[in-house]
Amino acid sequence: GIQVEQSPPDLILQEGANSTLRCNFSDSVNNLQWFHQNPWGQLINLFYIPSGTKQNGRLSATTVATERYSLLYISSSQTTDSGVYFCAVERKRNNNDMRFGAGTRLTVKP
């Protein structure tokens, strides 16, 4: 099956710092989504981004589908950004199952 690798596995930042999270995938994809899992375990949709670039406030994401990677940028980080960030992809075979990476655990310190 498709492999999804996220890096770094852990990231500790001071409040106000910027960061880049990376997601590499091993096959062509129909769908790529970024999620934030909050301390209560809820998965919050951040971006649906199978290709191109999107921005939402302090967050932005870029997917280069031809090179099989996606980046999530967090600028001016806040303590509420802490949590685990997951990348998930759906392989280009129309089989509808999303494969998740292992996540990046972000800790933002005040």
Binding site: G41, Q42, L43, N45
Partner: protein, 115 residues
């Protein structure tokens, strides 16, 4: 904004008991999914459902699991005889279409604890 809802938020059960986890997908969505996340691990796909039948399932989704859309709004996951290793967070998701442009929207999850 429409959202996927799940009930209960937390369920505790004894090993060997049957549990039913409930989900209400977004109303105009046609594809429904269940995922699970064992504590500290990645989210894993269980099953997808379209047009009242399973369209895809993973190796985790064995005979102990079943899914159903009993009416026009609910989508359920049944575990027939729970094991300790079924303890996990279970997420329901839905999407408007499958394949291309298949953004999936996730519910808040049900935390299942098997004692």
């Amino acid at each position: 904004e429409p959202e996927v809802t799940q009930t209960p938020s937390h369920q505790v059960t004894q090993m060997g008991q049957e549990v039913i986890l409930r989900c209400v997908p977004i109303s105009n969505h046609l594809y429904f999914y269940w995922y699970r996340q064992i504590l500290g691990q990645k989210v894993e796909f269980l099953v997808s459902f379209y047009n009242n039948e399973i369209s895809e399932k993973s190796e985790i989704f064995d005979d102990q699991f079943s899914v159903e859309r009993p009416d026009g709004s609910n989508f359920t996951l049944k575990i027939r005889s729970t094991k300790l290793e079924d303890s996990a967070m279970y997420f329901c998701a839905s999407s408007e279409v499958g394949g291309h442009y298949n953004e999936q929207f996730f519910g808040p999850g049900t935390r299942l604890t098997v004692l």
